[in-house]
């Protein structure tokens, strides 16, 4: 009974696991640019379809930063069966960064030849819960940054300042100033330093209503800069990943870094 329960727990944790065939993790704001103080609503889900809900993404570590750099007001945090949802109050002019970016750990091991996986925020606790007969144990540090930005009135940059931790996009072009046919420039940072040769995959929203993904990839240059020309108005999912060995827990063999962003491009 105990082991069954444990297994069920592991399965639940797998919902946010990354490797090989990772689903896409995303935040989707109801609005990205508004002209009057108001609430916006944001969905958080894990899916293949962009942007169709499949599994709720946990929002326990949500951080919303207001235009003054202070935490903004969040209400109605709800974890549903296929999506999480919350409201953000836009009460002062400027840009709000909505992010879920707390690092975690991913543990892979084998028991009697069966591959097992577990995920959690505390590496030592994960390792302590390993069965005695576990073999081929690999601990991976995982930094997933889910991010989207919304603006009341004119955009500002206070909330967009990179934290210097994990993978981030320095938004040289403001994410709420994207228009059809224009080119955005962003600098990819890892721990605050430009990261060259990182691939960014982009998928336009609405995959349910077409037969091809229409995704494309851009790669950061030697200054870490990617240039993205928007092929049309709409919402876009973007994803960038890299890995290194700069782990913060010595027992981890590798650090996986991902940036998962949602932006909206408006018609010219």
């Amino acid at each position: 009974m105990h082991s069954v329960l444990k297994k069920a727990g592991l399965l639940a944790l797998l919902a946010t696991a990354l490797p090989a065939h990772a689903h896409k993790l995303w935040l989707l704001p109801s609005h990205t640019s508004v002209s009057k103080p108001q609430w916006v609503s944001v969905d958080a889900s894990i899916s293949n379809e962009i942007f169709g809900f499949e599994r709720a993404y946990p929002v326990d570590n949500l951080e919303v930063t207001g235009p003054d750099g202070q935490p903004a007001t969040v209400d109605n945090l709800l974890k549903g069966h296929i999506r999480s949802v919350f409201d953000v109050q836009l009460d002062q002019p400027g840009s709000y960064r909505i992010a879920i970016a707390k690092p975690g750990y991913f543990l892979m091991y084998q028991v009697d030849g069966d591959r097992q996986r577990a995920r959690g925020m505390d590496a030592d606790k994960l390792l302590a819960e390993l069965p005695d007969n576990a073999s081929e144990v690999t601990l991976m540090e995982v930094h997933n940054r889910l991010e989207t930005v919304v603006t009341l009135g004119a955009p500002n940059r206070t909330a967009l300042k990179p934290t210097g931790q994990g993978m981030e996009f320095e938004m040289l072009t403001h994410p709420n100033d994207l228009y059809d046919g224009e080119t955005a420039q962003w600098r990819i940072l890892v721990d605050g330093k430009p990261a060259a040769g990182v691939e960014v995959e982009l998928v336009p929203g609405g995959t349910r209503y077409r037969d091809q993904q229409n995704n494309w990839t851009v790669t950061s240059d030697n200054k870490g800069i990617v240039k993205i020309t928007w092929p049309g108005p709409g919402r876009y999912y973007l994803e960038a990943a890299t890995s290194d060995d700069k782990v913060s827990n010595k027992q981890a063999s590798q650090r996986r870094l991902q940036y998962l962003g949602t932006v909206e491009v408006l018609p010219m």
């Binding site: 090989a20 065939h21 990772a22 293949n48 995959e201 037969d211 091809q212 993904q213």
Partner: protein, 162 residues
Amino acid sequence: MRVVLTLMISLLAGIAVADSFRVEVEVPRLRVAEYHAPYVAFWVESPDRSTIVPLGLWYDDQEKWLKDIRQWWRRTGRGQQAPYDGLTGATRVPGTHQVDFAELDSLQNLPAGDYELIVEAAREVGGREVLRLPFTWPANRPQQQTVQGSNELGTVSLTIDP
């Protein structure tokens, strides 16, 4: 007498209209970051769709993705449940694969007329493609059709031997 009659009927039913109804499908090799073999469905339609005969399905027991074989789902899939009609099997790896549907009574018993064989492929985090291969039933002489897919399917051919 009754035994003889039953025997005759079963003999008649056992006479195949076509010896083979062979479909060759090329599953293209794709260079993508995340690859899953496509789900592929095969069925026969009459021009006005009054006759729909499901022939087969390649899938990996994940019913969740069946709706993504959208035409098949609409025409026949959504009205079925496992085990699905026709010859079913696991998804196929990239390469050329053959399947012969001649053993299906539902195909052999098709009323005479013009039909299309429809082959639809849908790939998880990939695309979808539908190909149509016309044929006439019953096949009085050998028939062959070949069409070329552009995304999720490569060359698909149908060979009917009477």
